[in-house]
Symmetry: none
Subunit: 335 residues, 2 copies
Amino acid sequence: MKVLQMIKKPYLLFLGDAPDPLSAKVAQGIRDWRPEDCIGQFRMEGCKADIKLQDVTIDDAVKAGAKTLVIGVANRGGLISKEWTSVLCKALAAGLDIASGLHNQLSDEPELVAAAKAHGRDLHDVRIPPVQYPIANGKKRTGKRLLAVGTDCSVGKMYASLALDKEMKARGMNSTFRATGQTGILITGEGVPLDAVVADFMAGAVEYLTPDNDPEHWDLIEGQGSLFHASYSGVTMALVHGGQPDALVICHEPTRPHMRGLPDYKLPSIQDVREVGLRLARWVNPECRVVGVCVNTSAMTEDEAQTYLAGLATETGLPCVDPFRHGVGPIVDML
Amino acid sequence: MKVLQMIKKPYLLFLGDAPDPLSAKVAQGIRDWRPEDCIGQFRMEGCKADIKLQDVTIDDAVKAGAKTLVIGVANRGGLISKEWTSVLCKALAAGLDIASGLHNQLSDEPELVAAAKAHGRDLHDVRIPPVQYPIANGKKRTGKRLLAVGTDCSVGKMYASLALDKEMKARGMNSTFRATGQTGILITGEGVPLDAVVADFMAGAVEYLTPDNDPEHWDLIEGQGSLFHASYSGVTMALVHGGQPDALVICHEPTRPHMRGLPDYKLPSIQDVREVGLRLARWVNPECRVVGVCVNTSAMTEDEAQTYLAGLATETGLPCVDPFRHGVGPIVDML
């Protein structure tokens, strides 16, 4: 693999002045999935988030080996505040790079750019594609690939892929989580910010992200959008055709009243996603099959979740799990 | 959407060192639909394309009144070679503007920028999106829309849409050709360069291109790629979901041995495109139907074409025509 982002680890996770725990979900994701890469958390006065890492100063983090300060919190009002800038400049002076998935780019902040230059540090805006991706060639690649596809956006596709990676590694299987969104890129330190790639190069970017590999190696490709989401389905299509998946895992959130951001659209059924996803995927990989369903049951009681999953398993003939509650073992058994 | 109306006509069409006739489809399209705007063609050594215009030198083109050299040849990846740059600099010195739809921007070529500045000429990169498009909202719009979908890239989708527009106007119907690629944009002077739009905004760009209109007005949306083309299917998907078509016309080239640029892929069948296209389109417009097939029979004799089209009509139950040879009347009868 060539340069995708190459964010240096380990990280100091910057929580800033987070107004609530949810606003620090990027930091929480990194802490949940790559605790070994986290030196500690840095919180400013008034911070309402706590991801249960040691609070460390910038200097102590550097002494402990931290290489990059990762902005793990959404900024208020879409601005990088003076208070933040002051801390971030100190971090650059102390020898840390900075990585961010914010809409506002670090590279648009003159103070940060000047400080990074003065101290020889890097600013990583992970929403910006770091290289010119090729046009997809559709050629069969060695190694195996699994893609998470969803009935909607934000139904747990990243979580499902990370859980599969963890379970496969625990079983001694050879696997790599392949990030396609900013949180995933910050978690792994590399990936493709697919929703920011120019249309013609989307599928090529996915091919670039998942190159030839050992025959038994699995790339676990983070999904984006949904084949049925009117705003983002083109991105999902590029993942299906660029990823050439051997396996699809369908992700779903059963209590959602309509598709995310589209009040006029109900969610498609799992059967819809299965039929259309397989039809499209088999065009580039005739061996592709659906190996399971990952359901986000966080809005259900444990009993409701069990009943729902059992019914879905009967209906689909597939392993149906909530990866957070029950793990993804039954799906890995299918691979 | 009037960004290109500043491009001065008439044109000198630059075919460069085109490796085959198909790679000059930009020039061919302008020549076929706006011959009155073309002074002639300019070909370099080794050029394998000929669009049957007079070969003229740059100086003769200028003397004949040409205002703009249009790069009418599309290379994979859109590279601007040293040999091209030399010719283009001569054109600028001779008093021509340059217009290009290549991925690589003229404005990124220092030699061209310097020559344009020195001679007071304009460089037009028609592929650069002129505005920040919105994210698609999927809402139903007034007016009607027809989308051309293909079994492959470069099978005549733009021709079909332009022919439909011409036929509908001849019948006194209310219609607009909506360009989504560089040739269409150069022909009409406006449109969305869809393959250069950032992934998240593709479907929104198509909604922007085809806004609310009179109830009986038809937008004839130029298709791109194919739902079955591994490199570009995401772009096609965005057209289907952003366009919310009431009608699909399937475009096909029956003699092609494999998909364009993808030697490992045969073309899908018309039935494949019909089934998948309708399934996806009906998600955003349940009334969508396939109203005809446009076949590029340029590689067939007239007899072969007639036999093929008659057989296809029987097989599909749809009007099947070559829009260039026979017009699209039977398809417009369906609307």
